[in-house]
Each structure stands twice: as structure tokens, then as C-alpha cells.
């Protein structure tokens, strides 16, 4: 076991390096210390460990309920996409054929040197691509399912794994294989498809705010950042603690592009034949990385209560075997009482960690795992019908006794208070590091690190709201010189909506857009 911070005095942190020392490495260490995931023997693919997967299952459960509440049904489509399908939509193939896993054979045979080789006799006539996204293969099904306006809208979601070959990978944020959901819908009119695109963007923004406690800016991307083949791409963008943006979800209005490529046609009420209007939208295990980078601190992960796989862990404090039955009996009773309390529709879930290891070590493990509440119970607590309660959003040594009945009665309001506190803190952080910028010099200064160390050593910049005249050349220049991109054209932001002058070209600008460095 690694040494624990409390042995070394009160100021040491459980995660080394800290955020300010080396943010990128801090992130990897938080993921490792929380036991969320690890790299695998397969290049670019991660192993999602039980605590990380339980967290993802919470994301799935809540998102799935939101999708079903908005009328969507789950289905499942093939993992493989015939090469010719990808070729159907010109922009799409340009975007996705570049880095993908190509299946060329369907058998291995013994090779000359004893090992196995792809069997030359089992070469596929047409290579298959492991899906990087499923518009084309789902489009082929939709073309069969949709005949008449009565078959529309068609509202489908798929939970699946996808593969995009990546050279530089980081756990959750960018991996060759990742897990996601992809919504795919078809509609009779342009307006309806646009409404769907916006509705699902709203679902994502709500999920980010209400469950992840992560405020986001939502709005359309610029043309250069659109999904390949889309007419309009909307995103939600969140600020991480290194002040970079994370694109946390996208919703695409695909116009009739994919309907034409896949032949999704329907007979209208007037008996004419038209192409359907389609959308697609997705979020992925990347959100887990976003959660880490929004809330984790220098002692490890902090999970917002509404997404926590366990709301609390109970840590028995045993001093000799004779007190054990009383303590464990008390714990069982408390656990049962808590299970009868419902927190946002789900019973309070409690882990009991009765492992025979040192109490301090155990407590620190759960701090690093980010469980919202730690509840210590020893013989004296049993006598007093109480427990020592620690909140993950407070200091690691900050604990307070609570009567058992009080804890049971108040646990949901404590959790709600934590959930709100995390959101407020993230919102304040974003506000602090979002700047309205009106000159190129200030813009460059904002996005240039001040120390002479490598970039990664210094947290700098943030979100800039600045005027831009809409020229793609400006985007290219900023990306090359400063690694800055336009994240989106943020909505519901009155201060960005007045016209002005583009700080890059001096030309008129209709409104401000959101600039940041990004993951």
C-alpha cells in the first residue's frame, strides 16, 4: 500500500502531484486512486474497473430514463459496417475512414513459424469497419422500417461500444474503444427533426447540470467543427479545473443527407414520396472523465450524490472481538433503515467495508473513491445511538457526530446540499475563469502560459467570449498558433448576443462566440 497522507501531517494530499503541480498527471492519478480504469494490453483500449463501471451504470440508468421519457426506444445494430456503407456519404467517409479498425479476414490458421496468421483463404470480399458511429448501418435499417408518414417519427437509441483508432489516448477522455449511446431518429419534416436535435441537446444539458453538477454552455458548433455529414451540430461544453473545455455531448441535425445516402424515403399524407429528415446524438464514457475533472480534488475523486454508485460507506471501528457483534448489528440496522429512504427515486445505497485493515487506510481509500458520505461506527457510537459522519465535499478530517435517527431523517437533505454545493462551486469556478475579451492582444495574453516551463505545468486561460466575423481562416490560425478553438456559439447568454467588432479581422460581428483550449 502507498503511504497515507495522514501519517505525514495535515497538509499533505492523497493525490500526487496536485492539480497545480501537474494537472495531466493528477488526472491519471485520480483515476488510478479511485480504481476507475486502467490501460490494457491492447493499444488505446482501457479496462473499466468495477467502481468505474458502476459509475458508468449510474450515468446509463439516468440517461436511459430521460431518453425513454422523451419517447425513445432502445435497439441494437451490427458492430460491423461494410466499407461500401461508409462510402455512401461523402463528408462522413472523409471524417471516419481515416482512423478505424478494419476487419479483413474471418479465420486464423497456423503460419509457417508456428504462430497464427490470417488465413488467406478467408479474406473478406469487402472489408468490414468496426463502427466508429452508426449512422450508415442504422440508416440501412431505417430505410426498410420507414414506408409511410405513419412510421414517423422513428425514435431509436443504442447503447454500444465504438472504435476510433487514436494515437494519443487518455483514460475515459480519448480511447480507441469507448462505450456510448447513440440516438438516431427520423422525421417527416425539417422542423420536427430540428426540434428533436434541440430537445436532446436540452436533455444533455439538464443531465450535466442536475446529475453531474456540471454547468455547460450549449449551442451550435461552427461549420468547421460539425460532425461529418451534419447540417448543424450542437454541443454542450463544460469547463474543467485546468480551465480547458470538454465537449461533453453533441446533437446533430443531419438534414436529408443521410436519408439520401441510405434511401430513407416515405410516402406523405398527400401520397408524394420524400426523404426523411434525420438526427443523431451521443454521449460517451468521456463524461466520466468530465466528472473527474470537474469535481475531483487533491485528495481524489468527488462523486455528486445523484450519480454515486453508493451514497455512503459505513466503516466499522472495531476494538477487539467482543464489541464486534454489537457494532455490526447496529450497522445492519442502520443500513436497513437507510435503504428505506428514497433519494431521487432510488433507495439510499450503502457499502459496508468490514475488511480487516487499518481504519485510516480504509477511510482514505473511500475518500479517493469519492463516495459522498463516510459513516464511522464504533462501540461508543453504538452506546450513544449515533455515528461519526464525514462529507466528501469537506476536508478529509472534518467529521461530526450525528444521532442515528437524525442521520436517517436528514440524509437526503445532506446529499442534496452536497449536490447543489458541487454545482455552485463548479459554476463559480467557470464564472471566475470566463472573460469577455475585446482585443486580440488580450486574447493572446489570456491563452499564453506565463511560466517558461512546459505548457502542462501551468494552468492558464479559460473561456473567452469574443467577437468573431465568422471566417474559417481565423479558426485555423488560432488553432495552429494558440491551440484555441471556438467551442460553440453559446445560447441563453445575453451578454454574448449584442453585435460588435471581430477582434481578429476588425469586421462586423453579429455576436460573441466561446473560445477555449479543449480536450
Amino acid at each position: 500500500m502507498s503511504k497515507q497522507p495522514q501519517q505525514k501531517g495535515g497538509t499533505e494530499t492523497a493525490i500526487k502531484p496536485t492539480r497545480s503541480q501537474d494537472y495531466a498527471e493528477w488526472y491519471q492519478q485520480v483515476v488510478r486512486a479511485a480504481d476507475l480504469a486502467e490501460t490494457s494490453a491492447v493499444r488505446g483500449c482501457m479496462v473499466i474497473k468495477p467502481w468505474g463501471y458502476a459509475l458508468w451504470e449510474r450515468f446509463q440508468a439516468e440517461l436511459d430514463a430521460m431518453f425513454k421519457a422523451t419517447g425513445h426506444k432502445n435497439a441494437y445494430f451490427p458492430l460491423f459496417i461494410p466499407k461500401s456503407f461508409l462510402e455512401k456519404e461523402a463528408e462522413h467517409v472523409e471524417g471516419f475512414a481515416k482512423e478505424c479498425a478494419v476487419v479483413t479476414h474471418h479465420r486464423l490458421v497456423a503460419g509457417e513459424n508456428g504462430g497464427l496468421v490470417p488465413d488467406p483463404k478467408a479474406k473478406l470480399e469487402e472489408p468490414l469497419i468496426v463502427r466508429p458511429t452508426s449512422e450508415t448501418i442504422i440508416g440501412a435499417s431505417f430505410a426498410q422500417w420507414v414506408q409511410s408518414y405513419r412510421d414517423l417519427p422513428l425514435l431509436i437509441n443504442q447503447w454500444a461500444n465504438v472504435v476510433r483508432w487514436e494515437m494519443r489516448t487518455r483514460l475515459f477522455l480519448r480511447t480507441a474503444e469507448f462505450l456510448w449511446q447513440e440516438g438516431h431518429t427520423a422525421h417527416a419534416t425539417k422542423e420536427e427533426a430540428e426540434e428533436e436535435t434541440r430537445k436532446m441537446l436540452e436533455v444533455y444539458a439538464t443531465f450535466a447540470a442536475d446529475f453531474m453538477a456540471m454547468p455547460v454552455y450549449k449551442g451550435p458548433k461552427t461549420a468547421s467543427e460539425r460532425f461529418p455529414g451534419a447540417v448543424e451540430t450542437y454541443s454542450i461544453e463544460a469547463m474543467m479545473q485546468d480551465r480547458k473545455a470538454l465537449q461533453a455531448g453533441t446533437s446533430h441535425f443531419l438534414g436529408q443527407n443521410f436519408a439520401k445516402a441510405s434511401g430513407i424515403r416515405f410516402q406523405t399524407k398527400n401520397e408524394t414520396e420524400e426523404h426523411a429528415w434525420t438526427t443523431s446524438w451521443g454521449v460517451s464514457t468521456r463524461l466520466v472523465g468530465g466528472l473527474v475533472m470537474t469535481h475531483a480534488d487533491d485528495d481524489g475523486l468527488v462523486i455528486p450524490p445523484r450519480l454515486a454508485p453508493a451514497h455512503a460507506v459505513i466503516l466499522p471501528v472495531l476494538r477487539g472481538d467482543d464489541t464486534k457483534p454489537a457494532v455490526m448489528g447496529f450497522i445492519e440496522k442502520l443500513k436497513k433503515e437507510l435503504a428505506e429512504v428514497r433519494y431521487h427515486g432510488r433507495p439510499i445505497e450503502v457499502e459496508v467495508d468490514a475488511r480487516d485493515i487499518r481504519g485510516g487506510e480504509k477511510s482514505w481509500e473511500w475518500i479517493k473513491k469519492g463516495v459522498p458520505l463516510r459513516i464511522e461506527i464504533g462501540p461508543r457510537d453504538v452506546e450513544q445511538d449515533s455515528a461519526m459522519v464525514s462529507r466528501r465535499d469537506r476536508g478529509p478530517r472534518d467529521k461530526a457526530p450525528m444521532k442515528r435517527a437524525e442521520l436517517v431523517a436528514n440524509i437526503t437533505s445532506i446529499l442534496d446540499d452536497m449536490q447543489k454545493g458541487l454545482f455552485d462551486r463548479a459554476l463559480a469556478f467557470r464564472k471566475e475563469h470566463t472573460r469577455t475579451i475585446d482585443s486580440r492582444a488580450e486574447f493572446d495574453d489570456f491563452f499564453t502560459p506565463k511560466s517558461k516551463n512546459e505548457d502542462r505545468a501551468e494552468i492558464h486561460g479559460g473561456f473567452a467570449l469574443a467577437h468573431w466575423n465568422g471566417e474559417g481562416a481565423v479558426e485555423t490560425e488560432l488553432k495552429d498558433k494558440l491551440k484555441v478553438t471556438i467551442r460553440n456559439i453559446p445560447e441563453d447568454l445575453p451578454e454574448a448576443e449584442a453585435p460588435g467588432t471581430c477582434i481578429f479581422t476588425g469586421q462586423p460581428s453579429k455576436r460573441r462566440v466561446l473560445f477555449a483550449k479543449a480536450y
Copy 2:
């Protein structure tokens, strides 16, 4: 729309052909009529449609709860397996390298003729195999996770897609890609691993009986039918309505074979180092095919209530717009009342099908989809505070009026009665077609179709309990000549446990084993 049976008189069936006319084709038609799944443009891969996927989600939810109740945690491992990993276990590679999807490139580029081709510059140094099963890749993680006896047992489950290249495919029963769960566990002792293997076999048998209403025989497979690399494979085997066996789940005791291949070693309490003992166990979307073939009839699918995505469908019977508000109001009220009733831990789920199509057509659609209860409500029912209720386990025209309050009060007992009835019927069917056979002549006769038509046209045979001396050569001969295999050595079956004489060799036999043709 296809013509509906009720227009053609009382004896016609909704599915054509019927089971007795052409069982294989009947199966395909039931799957199609219930809108469960369809073939895709990708060879051997199916599309699981919303109703089929909702059914699979029910399987998942119940199995997942059973796995968690027995101490397992979910995790996720890479889709790809490096070729060298497969090569580590000699028998395993023999079993799985044969037909698999081989990824050889990570990029497509424009070819000479305009289309895309795998980029020769992006050829992988080592081919990757799309997982056919994950023992080897999960073993690599376990080798890292397990250091000491304190890390054991390690009890992991994964929900995933897997690929086994198949030439002849049938929806759900045999497809190139399928969805499944695979449990993988590591233990400190042989006894513990054997106990785990048996425990999970028991979980599968319980799930089959209590949820699928499908009785199974459980027991070890013979050596020739073991999972490649396993020391012992246990299976559950169910009888389909064509009297063939379906292997519905397997649980493998892997000894130390995979631990040695993957290097899963641990320090014992005595500070010696040993290889762990591992198990693996899985069930797949094949179970959906098993459910269809156990309970569906000549009018379509029949879903046991405990696995039904919806327990009931409410069909408004509207005669003119003026009665609509009263009928729909009544339905909403009933739906809400039913949602407050819990059936085996989950609220009663009701679909309301208010589509503006002919009532008969609508009703037949739900018969073919296998929803347990159909509830018709028209203006007269509203007046009488009642509904017309039809059970899917009775004739399609068999309906009875029930008072609303009576329906709400009795729905769980009606559903339980259906669940039990389906199990009892399946059990009686199996009993009727299971025979104790004591001569080779009778055995051959039992498994030989009597008509001169093709095999598929005649349902024949069944399960045979016969004595066998343990010789592999007998198995080979029976497989080649009669397409009959030993399904397993069934346990908890006193009539099979007495010693006797092998009907194939005349040699002594310790007990009877279970023979059948199989999927």
C-alpha cells in the same frame, strides 16, 4: 398489412406455417411477427428491434440482480484480443481461432479505383481478434489485480458483444455477433472455484425455471463437448417444441489452465506462491430464441409475465370522437392504478395502444408480440366500470369482462397463474417426449424421422436417457449418423443414476446420460 386470421374463420392461425407444418420456418415467422429482430446487411449479424431489445433488457435486469446478489461486480474489458493472447492456451486457440473476425489495419485510404482500401501503411504489427470470449484478455487484467490471497476471490461479470464467425445463422440462436454476459472469477482453492462453477449453474437453472418458465436439465458435459481449455463444463439444456435440445447456458471450471496461461498468481497465507483457480460462465441473446421456441404457439410469441417488457396492453375501443375523452380518461386512471401494483418487485407496466387502426388488427399485433394480457376498453366498459380481459395463454378469442377493481386487485395472481401455467405446460411437454431407452434399435428408431420428406418437415424424437460407457467413439458415431449428441450428464434425476449396460457397446455403464438432437 397481412390478412388477419379472424377474417378467415376460427381455425386459422396468425403464424404460417404452423409448428407442425415447418418448425424452422415457423420460428423465423414468429420472430418476424413479434418484431423481435431481423437480419442485417452485414453477413450473419442481426438487428435487434425495439421489442426484442426490451425483452433482452428484461433478461439483463433479472440476471444482473442475481449476479450482484451472489457477490459479482460488473466491469468492462477490451473488444480486441491480441493474437498472441489467444495463442497462450493451446486448446483455447484451437477452439476459437477457427472462425473469428481479424482486424489487420487501422486506416482506409482511397484506392486506385476510387473506393477505399485498407491502407498498407497502417497494417497492424500484430493482428487483433474481435473477442469470441474474453478469458485471455480478462486473464491479463486478473494477473495484475491478484497479488495476494486477500485479493481473492475476484468475482467479475461483463455484459458485452462477442463475435464468432458463423456460416449458417439463425436469428438469436446462432449469429456472428451476439450479446451476452460472461462471468470470470478467480479463487484461492480448487474447491472454491468448483463451488462457484456449480453456484452459477444453479443461478442459470433458477433463472430458466423461474423467469423463462423453461425447465432445464443441468449437469456436466462430456469431455468432447467441453469449452476449449476447461477442466469441466456444465450446461443447462432445455427442450424446444420440436423436441430438440437447446444449450441455454454454460458454466466452466477452468482449473489452473488459464491462470497458468495468463500468469494469475498469488501469495498464500503461508507465503508460498500459487496459481489461482478460475471459472467462467455465460448466457447470451440465444436465450431469447429459447424463450420463443419454448412458449410461442401458432399465433405467435408468448412471453412469460416475469420477463414481459409490458405486462399488459390496453386497447381503447372507440366508436366516434364523442366517447373518446371518457374512454381515454378511464384508461389513464386504470394505468395509474396498475402502476401502483408491484409484481415481483416491479410496477405493473402497461402499454396503451391508441393508434388509429382497426381494432382487430391491433389486437392481433399484440397477440403476435406475446404480451401477457390484452385489456379492451370501450364506452360500455367505462359505464360498467369494467374491462374485457384476454390472456395470451388462452385462445385469441377468449375474453372475459372484469370489474376494474377486480382487475387491479387480481392482476398479480393472474400473471402468476400464467407464469406457472407456462412452466407446467413446458414441463409436461418435456416429460411427454423424454424416454428411457434400453436398446440401440429403440434409440435409432426414436431419432429417425418417419416421413419421407426432408427432416425439417417432421418433428420427431426428443430426449433419451440411455446408458453409455463413456467412450468418445460412440459420440462421434451418433453425431455423424443420427445428428444426436450427449447434452449432459443430468443431475437431480434419480431414474438416471442407477448403473446398467451401455446400449452402444454392451459394456458396463455407471448411469444414464441425456441424448438429443440439438441447436
